[in-house]
Subunit: 162 residues, 2 copies
DNA sequence: CGTTGATGTTTGCGCGAACAACTTTCTACA
DNA sequence: TGTAGAAAGTTGTTCGCGCAAACATCAACG
């Protein structure tokens, strides 16, 4: 038998295809707004954080970019005026990246199209209950593969499942 | 109200986190075998193709790499002896990339660990029925976002599980 | 209070991938 | 049959990102 024909490979491949294919579709809207996928990811993480700001390393933790990668992304976004660095009052090593008004505006401008894209290529394809089940399954996996995805949001104690 | 707190954003973010987080876990095994994620993706696509070979552009279509990207990947893999180019008998512009025996061996060697990884971080987390439902949903989305994912296969669709 | 090690961020460097231009070959059409 | 245009693949160029080293600051400890 062919050892490369395993249902687990198929399952994994399917997940990868969906993720990259979906990302490719959403990318169109990003680039129409002059943003890369990474740019958008960075901006939206800031937008969804308290006071629209986050420490550089927390940003790195949330985006699966390295800290040096975040430095460069924030450099670019700052040059475009979408983000600004501001010092941390309690730790002079650290700095916050915070959304500027222009950054909020840029996000706000593309958000309707982005949400429509997600609908078109993802959520509207599924019945409400099917979507809920799907998300529940994703959460199950997420909690295992990304125990630290909530860095900078909260201090969460992680329990090993034994 | 915060316009950046939409369930669709959460859903999309969850899917992205799962996909990248899972990929990061699987990557450990790849690099232990001296392969990058892209290398592995390329090799496995070849392994799962008839006669273990595929035209360069079909390879590009299946891997979401550009054709020039595939050229370089195959350059590398050929230098390592895992893949070899051979001309297409009916079209002298085209060339096939085909797995060498060394390539098959390399894949065979890491496959047990890879399958175990998929189990550990993905499939074993879900009940059989839950997994089946999950894959069904993934197929639904895949068929919409990636209509051409089967380029070069031309054959049948995979067997539906259950 | 100075030294040592840890932590947060930035820079030097190299690799890998996309885009566009180019070469070769195929196909269509007159 | 000859020409135009399309298609497959490779190469030049550019740029983004990760790794490791450097730099700045903090925390601990004598």
């Amino acid at each position: 038998m062919d050892p490369f024909d395993d249902p687990r490979l198929t399952a994994m491949g399917l997940l990868a295809e969906v993720s990259t294919g979906l990302a490719a579709q959403l990318n169109k809207t990003f680039s129409a707004a002059g943003l890369s996928e990474v740019d958008f990811e960075t901006l939206i993480r800031l937008a969804r954080s308290p006071q629209h700001k986050l420490r550089m390393s927390d940003l790195a933790g949330q985006t699966s970019l390295s800290t040096s990668g975040i430095t460069r992304v924030v450099d670019r976004l700052e040059r475009e005026g979408l983000v600004q660095r501001c010092p941390c009052s309690t730790d002079r090593r650290a700095s916050y990246a915070s959304l500027t008004e222009a950054g909020v505006n840029r996000l706000t401008a593309l958000m309707p199209q982005h949400l429509e894209d997600i609908d078109t290529w993802f959520t509207s394809l599924l019945a409400p209950e099917q979507l809920a089940t799907f998300l529940e399954t994703l959460r199950t996996i997420r909690d295992v593969v990304r125990p630290c995805a909530t860095a900078g949001v909260e201090r969460v104690e992680q329990v090993t499942t034994g």
